[in-house]
Symmetry: C2
Subunit: 146 residues, 2 copies
């Protein structure tokens, strides 16, 4: 099954926005991400609604951060995207009449729920600034080639 890369993409964009003083247009960003402007706007809409970024129209317009990267956690971005489903594994039907199926769903569901809680808990502890710092290390290792 193909995985949803929107979370990674948005983190990627946010860090680039932080490195760049002037606003970034959807077209520039789409080029970086190998996607297209409309899809990008669609995805960024969630972040805008949550107040993490803002967009401006017209000349010199585009996207910019409305708050510092250390005030945005990985979880915040995840939530802004509408809490996309974490797992590619799942139960059969929502309301099985078969008792065996119910028992199976309970067992698998419990394990998945626990794993999800764990993962989101970790997401909550990582700020995008943390990731940006790691980028700084990598850049230094590569002789600062931006």
């Amino acid at each position: 099954m193909r995985s949803d890369s929107r979370l990674s993409r948005m983190l990627h964009v946010l860090i680039h926005m932080d490195q760049h003083e002037a606003p970034l247009t959807s077209e520039m960003i789409a080029l970086m991400l190998n996607t297209n402007p409309v899809v990008l706007r669609r995805t960024m809409a969630g972040l805008r609604d949550k107040g993490y970024v803002q967009s401006e129209k017209g000349h010199g317009g585009g996207w910019k951060l409305s708050r510092s990267l250390d005030e945005i956690s990985l979880l915040d971005v995840y939530l802004a995207l509408g809490e996309p489903s974490v797992f590619a594994l799942g139960p059969t039907s929502d309301h099985p009449s078969c008792l065996v199926e119910q028992a199976v769903n309970a067992a698998v569901g419990d394990a998945l729920r626990e794993a999800e809680t764990h993962l989101l808990g970790r997401f909550a502890k990582v700020t995008i600034a943390d990731i940006a710092r790691d980028f700084g290390v990598r850049a230094r290792d590569h002789g600062i080639q931006f």
Copy 2:
């Protein structure tokens, strides 16, 4: 994103096979699972190859367990299905040239890998017999209506 229900389905089948002395045909099982015989055989092939079930052709043929349910863990079934991807979330591309993207993938990848290790560790501790026991409890609560 739509989730892969094969794991739950296989657990479901295995427990039913345990409750049933005679072999179950693909057609009967497909009927139970609301799927069709060919898809079922496709999925069961992995379990057969690992030696958890066996199939026989001709009259009175079908599928039966080749080992006890307390000797099969949830992890075993997962592995038999070819280790389907656990997460619906993922990185962008495998070998990004952008250092920001690399940092993002590292951060997200670490969190996902940890969550996966955790989840599979839990899968390893649950046998299908455990789930079958829970089914027994549910059946008793419902006046044993099989």
